[in-house]
């Protein structure tokens, strides 16, 4: 295997692994940056997104859990993957709004530790609810064969391998994961940089009171920010779900890397979350190639070093007041 193809593979694999982290980190980061709310239940939103994705896209057969006991042996709407990709963000957006209203809001004025504790507890509750309902074994979440198929249009095939120059076969879906992430992050970026909504959010991050003094009811965009952050986590669940097995622990398992992504990239900026996710993904891929046995240790070590030497994160400078 040539060094060039090695490098390309590390890049591709790193990007696609990073993509999921980016989707989670963008939401986590803007919520942390604008609302100063530490959401340890962000992984739960990913979990909800994944299960909702399975439910909407497929008709799965259950083999344990309460739903199974209640007679739901096969389960799901079987609307296809594209429907999940559209509906899940909407659903999780609503979940995010509810979470903001009923969980986050009472805790805005309480210390970080209380926020961590209550959302940590909430994450346990959500995970357990899913375990009880769907059982703790893994559901198959197959990659979509095609997307955008409707009516007579067969859709674009997305599953299986695709032959790339130099490196050979590569799982096609993973390229789509990178692509979908890029599009979504770009959309959010445009929304934040070029719309009134984004303007209010950016200004509010810096000086919320002044925004209110200008006559703008800042809580509304904040709620929307929370919803968007949640929706992105939901999308991450839909596009990332088919990459791995789906079971109730995926939410808590992904939380730690998502948080590390945020702090590596720098809290509060979308660009930071993107850079954090890419750095995290590439580092993982590179370490896996170079020193597999130490890759996880190395990853946490790098996260710790970034936190110690650059607490504002790689792109945190933007947020430091002049």
């Amino acid at each position: 295997m040539s060094i060039l193809s090695d490098i390309i593979l590390i890049l591709l694999n790193g990007l696609q692994q990073g993509a999921i982290y980016v989707l989670l980190a963008v939401g986590l980061s803007i919520i942390l940056g604008t609302l100063k709310f530490v959401n340890f239940a962000h992984g739960a939103l990913y979990l909800i997104g994944t299960y909702a994705g399975v439910f909407i896209a497929l008709n799965i057969s259950l083999s344990n859990g309460k739903l199974f006991e209640w007679g739901f042996t096969t389960f799901g709407l079987d609307l296809g993957f594209f429907a999940a990709l559209v509906l899940v963000p909407i659903l999780v957006f609503v979940v995010g709004l509810l979470m903001e209203r009923f969980v986050a809001r009472p805790f805005y004025d309480r210390p970080d530790t209380d926020q961590i504790l209550v959302t940590f507890g909430l994450a346990i509750v959500v995970q357990e609810l899913f375990r009880i309902l769907f059982g703790s074994n893994s559901l198959p979440f197959d990659q979509p064969e095609t997307i955008l198929s409707f009516g007579s249009f067969a859709g674009i095939p997305v599953s299986g391998p695709v032959a790339l120059p130099i490196v050979g076969n590569f799982p096609q879906w993973r390229l789509y994961v990178i692509g979908i992430t890029a599009v979504l992050v770009a959309l959010v970026y445009i929304m934040v940089e070029y719309t009134d909504f984004g303007l209010v959010v950016r200004a509010g991050t810096r000086d919320a009171e002044m925004v209110r003094l200008l006559g703008i009811k800042i809580t509304r965009p904040y709620i929307v920010v929370f919803g968007i952050g949640a929706a992105l986590a939901g999308v991450a669940g839909v596009v990332g779900g088919p990459l791995n097995v789906v079971n109730p622990t995926i939410g808590t398992n992904i939380l730690v890397p998502a948080f590390l992504t945020v702090v590596i990239g720098g809290v509060g900026s979308i660009a930071g979350a993107v850079v954090g996710g890419i750095v995290f993904g590439l580092t993982t891929a590179a370490l896996v190639s170079l020193a597999p046995a130490w890759s996880q240790v190395g990853l946490y070590a790098i996260a710790a070093i970034v936190l110690l030497t650059r607490p504002q994160g790689i792109l945190g400078d933007e947020e430091v007041a002049p």
Binding site: T113, L117, L122, E128, R131, A293, V297, A301
Partner: protein, 386 residues
């Protein structure tokens, strides 16, 4: 839970009680007594002495509780861990999400010492604790450079590093995923086999020598923790929690005190981790995993961070639910066969999660705080009748 009923009066760490209830009657004298160090340690010792009997062997009570000896031992071990953790979280106000590093690290250290050097329980405890102290010094030195959520994440990252190191690169020492097996715990003082039952009445109360050994260390840990809280440190820790900047500006070296809080807390975790190895003659790899850190947070907060015995109560409730309630198959109306909830035990983790959220939300001083309020209510009533 009845083990807690044994000492609802072995009280708070705050001896200079704000309610200056001094009277010549019995109640007043009791109020005076309860703050004293000797009383607290004495009541703890009495509690430790009757706990396993009540929990596992007493007629009616233990049949109701469904307890058993080894769980009693385990509750005390985790109790030591929680007392130490609370010194950091409850008193100094630092939320570590990486205390598994000290618990699991000490468990491995004492296990490895037992396998390779000496299985003497005292040597194991000392070596495990020393390891935890050194590790806490190092990790505290690094992690305390950051505050708030960053501190929590740093401790988490370091603990996860330890976990992954034990899982694979250091598997030649730790036996990796299978956990450290074949730990031979030697006899205490060379003669007492810890697994053996204590003869006569001692055995009836305490059960095994192992429990006696753990119980002795538990009482000692309570005494030391209580003393620390009543030493200048206890005051400084609370001062840092209340107003760190002001503490700096009265001339205290806040950073070093925080480091000491971290190390002391690590040392308690180390003692507990070493005892865990002695208790099980085995170290699971999970002892280093971050969920273990999460468990100690949940236990401490559930019971009541910032009180001396709250975290121990939290440990009791947590382990009780995890090990006993989880095996209950149906929740029935007392003294009837009417089933309220089928498969009740199946929901144990959900139940715990909901209780935890409720505690954080509504009663930040935890279950112990609730007991405290009930006690205040009762004592006010009693005071009012005079």
């Amino acid at each position: 839970m009845s083990e807690e009923d044994a000492n609802p009066n072995a009280k708070d760490a705050n001896p200079s009680s704000s309610e200056a209830l001094v009277g010549s009657d019995l109640f007043g004298r009791w109020e005076q007594l309860r703050g004293r160090e000797g009383t607290v340690v004495g009541l703890t010792a009495i509690f430790v002495a009757v706990f396993p009997w009540l929990f596992a062997r007493a007629p009616v009570v233990s049949d109701f509780l469904q307890g058993y000896q080894s769980l009693a031992t385990l509750i005390l071990i985790w109790g030591i861990f929680a007392i130490g953790f609370d010194l950091l979280l409850g008193y100094t106000g630092l939320l570590s999400f990486g205390h598994a590093a000290f618990w699991g690290g000490a468990a491995y250290a004492s296990g490895i010492v037992a396998k390779n050097i000496s299985g003497d329980p005292i040597v194991m405890v000392v070596s495990g604790t020393l390891f935890a102290i050194l590790l806490a010094w190092l990790l505290g030195f690094l992690s305390l450079r950051r505050g708030g959520i960053y501190f929590s994440i740093l401790t988490l990252a370091f603990a996860q590093m330890m976990y992954f190191m034990a899982a694979s690169p250091l598997a030649f020492l730790t036996n990796g995923e299978n956990g450290l097996t074949g730990v031979d715990v030697g006899n205490l003082f060379g003669v007492i086999h810890l697994e053996a039952d204590i003869p006569s009445i001692g055995g009836m109360l305490l059960g095994t020598w192992l429990y006696a050994f753990v119980g002795f260390i538990f009482v000692a840990a309570v005494a030391v923790a209580y003393r620390i809280l009543n030493s200048p440190y206890g005051m400084v820790f609370r001062a840092i929690r209340e107003n760190e900047q002001r503490a700096e500006f009265v001339g205290l070296n806040v950073w070093r005190y925080k480091l000491m809080a971290f190390i002391i807390s690590g040392a308690f975790a180390g003692i507990a981790g070493s005892l865990f190895t002695i208790h099980g003659a085995y170290v699971p790899l999970q002892s280093l995993f971050w969920t273990e850190s999460g468990d100690i947070v949940v236990m401490t907060v559930l019971g009541g961070a910032g009180s001396m015995f709250g975290p121990v109560l939290g440990v009791g409730v947590y382990l009780y639910i995890e090990n006993i309630v989880s095996t209950v198959q149906a929740l029935t109306i007392p003294f009837t066969d009417i089933v309220l909830i089928k498969d009740f035990g199946f929901y144990w983790h959900l139940l715990l999660g909901i209780v935890f959220v409720a505690v954080v939300w509504v009663v930040p001083d935890g279950l112990w705080g609730i007991i405290g309020r009930v006690r205040t209510f009762v004592s006010d009533r009693m005071g009012g009748e005079r």
